[in-house]
Assembly symmetry: none
Homo-oligomer: 219 residues x 4
Amino acid sequence: MSTARPPAGRAKAAPDKRRLILDAAVRVFARQGFHTCRVSDIADEAGVAYGLVYHYFGSKDEVLDTLFLERWNVMLELIREVDAEPLPVRDKLRAIASFIVDSYHHDPDLMKVIIVEVTRAANSFGDTHIGTIREAYDLIGGMIAKAQAEGVFKPEIEARFAAMAFYGAIEQLLTGWIFGLLPQGEEHFERAKWLVVETVCGGLETRPAGHAGAVSGPV
Amino acid sequence: MSTARPPAGRAKAAPDKRRLILDAAVRVFARQGFHTCRVSDIADEAGVAYGLVYHYFGSKDEVLDTLFLERWNVMLELIREVDAEPLPVRDKLRAIASFIVDSYHHDPDLMKVIIVEVTRAANSFGDTHIGTIREAYDLIGGMIAKAQAEGVFKPEIEARFAAMAFYGAIEQLLTGWIFGLLPQGEEHFERAKWLVVETVCGGLETRPAGHAGAVSGPV
Amino acid sequence: MSTARPPAGRAKAAPDKRRLILDAAVRVFARQGFHTCRVSDIADEAGVAYGLVYHYFGSKDEVLDTLFLERWNVMLELIREVDAEPLPVRDKLRAIASFIVDSYHHDPDLMKVIIVEVTRAANSFGDTHIGTIREAYDLIGGMIAKAQAEGVFKPEIEARFAAMAFYGAIEQLLTGWIFGLLPQGEEHFERAKWLVVETVCGGLETRPAGHAGAVSGPV
Amino acid sequence: MSTARPPAGRAKAAPDKRRLILDAAVRVFARQGFHTCRVSDIADEAGVAYGLVYHYFGSKDEVLDTLFLERWNVMLELIREVDAEPLPVRDKLRAIASFIVDSYHHDPDLMKVIIVEVTRAANSFGDTHIGTIREAYDLIGGMIAKAQAEGVFKPEIEARFAAMAFYGAIEQLLTGWIFGLLPQGEEHFERAKWLVVETVCGGLETRPAGHAGAVSGPV
DNA sequence: GATGAATGAGATTTCATTCAT
DNA sequence: TATGAATGAAATCTCATTCAT
């Protein structure tokens, strides 16, 4: 973030080596993992000189930081926009799920890197960016809390926890794709968007007339 | 070569250095992360000589492998047992959620290590153990599929996906605790067990008379 | 990956660190032996940083491989040239002996390393380079075979064995010098060249009129 | 040498673990090389406990020392015996060559170990035992010197050098066998004994009436 | 901006040797 | 004698980072 940025030159003219490096890093991190790859792997993949990586970024860490922040901030912006609109929760959650799934669809490597290297990295990147990551959880939690206040969502399920469950469900779908455990493809991605929202909002159960115990709360 | 196992001698007699090392590794991995800690940190924490780690384990990796497999297999066994019993799905899922949450409650470090270092590590341990990990997902998926066949769960939500969503929701709660984003304590743990099952089975929504679109399927 | 080679720049200009390392390695290997020396010893001797050895060579082994091949290939070339010329065998063998003895005279450390660490190392370097080593034996064997065909050498002594005996005699002289068992110095080196050829070609015996048994073959 | 020796018990009764270890060491050293094998490899090969190696030998080195000395001393004894007898040099040299070749024939692994790990190891074992090794060279040198004094051998070729050439020729034949460069088998071994003596004593050349230059000495 | 040689602090792993039993 | 767990001092190799050009 802190480093030199090209002068927003003529559209496609210059190759913008900084971007080249960033994109190469995504591929390399996704392929080998952050810890297993060397800075030279990034440079090689980008087709630039070793030292250039250090010209644009202060360290190997900073490359991943940049990658993460770029994407996560786009997501935060999307969530805020959605939140500002007068939509039903279900639609809001649907928009968020769509955004994340589409992000994976559009650039699976980048999402793999974020999920694998940052989001759960409690002792490194995840910890560094916990504030930024949390913002997303909090925004979602806010949506849910509001829905509860409006009587659309059950009040017994704490919004913070519900938000985590919702986000965790989506991330796990991506994890399933990343590990090759779930089928991929346009169709599956579309269905997944619906599915995760339907599961969390509507529940997996069919609606037997009365289901008292279920709604009555924990033991 | 590796893992000479003591002959299950007289209960508490010998200190069982192998166990000592394993337990120390959990603490160290949880505190510093697998990549950031050195083998000497494990040895120091266990109070044994450097080389002894290599006497019992072939490599640093093998220590984590052992830790993961020990715990994951206990879980698999639990899931299989639960699955074999004639219980309603909700109770089965509840049992699984309970087991995982209790595991965290009982040994947060170990669960932190498993979730942070193995479960999402697509380029290292996660990949190595994907077969074992998947077994859990598949067993849960099987439960859900059966519930669908019995008409208890909606048939439109693919069981495999639903299983991932359910497991992901739980893991994310643990992630929340690990990162200090969610409140911990006996009470919260108990509530979380109910909450995650209620969310996934019953849904977050209160039951408005009709909600056609919701159940009708994805766009 | 390994062995970036400088562009054969202006003669003496740059110090050529790669060469520096190679030359230092010869001294260190000769002084301490390959197994006893550490890579840091080489770096220290060369006056370069530890890592630079690995910048130019993939491993400690590769340093010795390079050293051996550089020298052995020069010898192979010499032998081939000699072989191509229309000289009497005795002169050819003399040329080979001269080359080897001169090599020792000129750079005793390098020859010590080759003889001590490679030529007899049946389980490591010798085995790796056996093909290259053998070429020399075969070329010499070819010379001897031709001499036998021409009637200059006795036909009863298999050329292959004779070649080994000849080469072994020379190498043992070097071994004698290396261990300090034989006197060294210009004069001795010159004499040795003659001596080894005279021994193998003319034999140690004075020529008693008849020596039937000797020539008649083995029992 | 300094270590415990069994009480010369009933012939074949006890397995004599010390001998077991020594014999196992020969196989292991021959197979993997001294530096590449671990003490545990020796113990495993011998079928004894790790620690027992250290009960009988002070160190890994001492095992090889013992192996070398056992054999080399037998050879020294043989040479001395031969030297004491009133035989023609050619027969004496023949006896030595026979002994060495037979030694290889009888126990190729042991001779491989001696030649590969000791005889040329200028910075380790060779250096340690140089005195013992030299004795053999000196004894042979003495035989040759005597033959020169008697007029049987040419006086111009220094005995010390000639001895080295002779011994080197034999050792190189063994080296050829060790590396698989020369054909082995009873027949070849027998022939080799004759061949090496014939080469060194009689020379490779047929006897052209006059060969003045050859005998006249080095340039 | 761009290059890649040079640096050197670690980290893993190995294994000879010791020692309690 | 016999065992093998325990020790800990190296040694190789890696690689992020620096820097002169």
